[in-house]
Amino acid sequence: MRSEYPISRGRPRAIESRRTITLILLGAFALSLLGIDWSEGVFRPRGVSAIGETLGAFIRPDLSPDLLRTAAAAAWQTAVYAVAGLTVALLIGIPLGVVASGTIARSRLGAVTQIGAARAVLAFFRAIHELVWALLLVAAIGLSPMAAVLALGIPYGGILGRIYSELLQDVPQAPLDALRRSGASEWRVFLFGRLPMALPDMVSYTFYRLECGIRSAAVLGWVGLGGLGFQVQIALEDLAYSRVWTFLWALVVMVVLVDLWSSQVRRRLAP
């Protein structure tokens, strides 16, 4: 016989512990403010003029055709890294996320085991930052696109899996119960109930992650993997801020494009 109580998510207790956590974080923030040496001044004297220079270039980026071509090629490379990295992240995040949701388990014990194991793996993947993954992978397999793609895909897979598992758990229960009453096993309840109900949020979160992925892929340039980050790094070394901003604007354009694409898809998926 199935459990008589819908699985409770223990909201009241969650709220209480959230209050405690908020207090602890506020305390930590206050302590960190005390830790800053304010007597030195936050800005260095020369820093102020550098700020002026940097921001001036922000409205006057270098738009010469040659540089635009370089920027387009770099942006393309960054986009390819981001998309390929996100593909790897999906390959990791979808299966592990489903298992970590515990929704396809046959028994309570099975669910607990699956949730525990999958969450541990996901936590390991995402605890290590993509830059650290990049350094490790470059050390292991050399400066190759594969290193960049995996460096993005592994931690992002950990993040996606974690979010997917929660979205899959937090769908309305009434339609699921109705499917169970018409004889569906948990896997079928998953296919015809959980997945369709969680999908719009899953897709929208994935698009958000694609934006983050573009940003991260750009930064991967710093470890020598090419793309926008690499170009920004070179320009910075030359103190050519108007070139820096050309590349940064290219990054902004890409993120805006992904945002437009994502709202298009979301509109189509909305119930």
Binding site: D177, L179, L199
Partner: protein, 262 residues
């Protein structure tokens, strides 16, 4: 073609048999021990004030809740001995008040969900993209009069249309007993009447037994054979629909002193 699964069950056993069934939650007794037999094809309305135990009784029959004492039989088979899933789904199906459809799926998929107990995993997966058994689903949709909505998402439908789809889903499930918990509570009077008429008609055509909780006495009188009045977990009366008297209803819905209301 849409016949109830009669082969599954012994022919002369009652469709539903409750024998000394009671339900307690911790200290509170929600249903006092009661016995009730519903014959195949009978249409029984459960009425009573809210909190009387109607939903609990339906959930007991559906096998969604285990009784504290006594046993529930469907066509002579103890519900507790049936595996949840296909076996149970062939005997009993349920329509709830609302919020019961998967909002992001099309009406067609929602109706086909009634087949999930019968489908293999591969067939279910395939049906998400390429729906199987479509003819069955369209037959059901036609009988509830919403064929034109087949490809709409369930979330876009009105309350009355959603209940029609829920009925269509139970039609393709083909259980021997159909339960309905306040199926028209969220509808206006005219819609409510249409939906109850539809529910009683289609279950009758399929030779199915219907047990429904309903808050409208008029609809209970007009469309059901038998009315069971519940109050505080006790059966106050159990009579043929035509013989119900105003006096019985007054007693059933009589408001107790303020002390017990609070």
């Amino acid at each position: 073609m849409l016949r109830a699964n009669s082969a599954l069950s012994s022919s002369n056993a009652p469709a539903v048999l409750l024998d000394g069934v009671s339900k307690r939650y911790d200290e509170a007794t929600v249903l006092a021990p009661l016995s009730l037999a519903v014959e195949p094809g009978e249409r029984v309305a459960l009425i009573g004030p809210s909190g009387a135990g109607k939903t609990t009784l339906l959930r007991l029959i559906a096998g969604a809740v285990a009784p504290s004492t006594g046993c529930v039989e469907l066509r002579g088979r103890n519900v507790a001995s049936l595996r949840p899933g296909r076996e149970l789904a062939r005997l009993v199906g349920m329509i709830a008040q609302q919020f019961d459809l998967v909002p992001n799926l099309s009406v067609l998929h929602n109706v086909l969900a009634g087949r999930l107990g019968e489908w293999s995993f591969g067939r279910s997966l395939l049906s998400l993209v390429w729906p199987r058994d479509q003819r069955l689903a369209f037959e059901a949709l036609e009988r509830v009069g919403v064929t034109h909505l087949a490809h709409q998402r369930a979330a876009r439908l009105s309350g009355g249309e959603q209940q029609r789809v829920a009925i269509a889903r139970v039609l393709v499930q083909r259980p021997t007993v159909v339960l309905a918990d306040e199926p028209v509570a969220s509808l206006d009077r005219a819609r409510a009447r249409e939906v109850v008429r539809l529910l009683t008609d289609v279950t009758e055509e399929q030779g199915e037994t219907l047990v429904a909780s309903i808050h409208s006495i008029d609809l209970a009188r007009e469309f059901f054979d038998r009315i069971v009045g519940l109050r505080n977990g006790l059966v106050q009366f159990d009579v043929p629909a035509f013989s119900i008297r105003d006096r019985m209803l007054e007693d059933l819905y009589e408001i107790e002193g303020l002390r017990s209301e609070v």
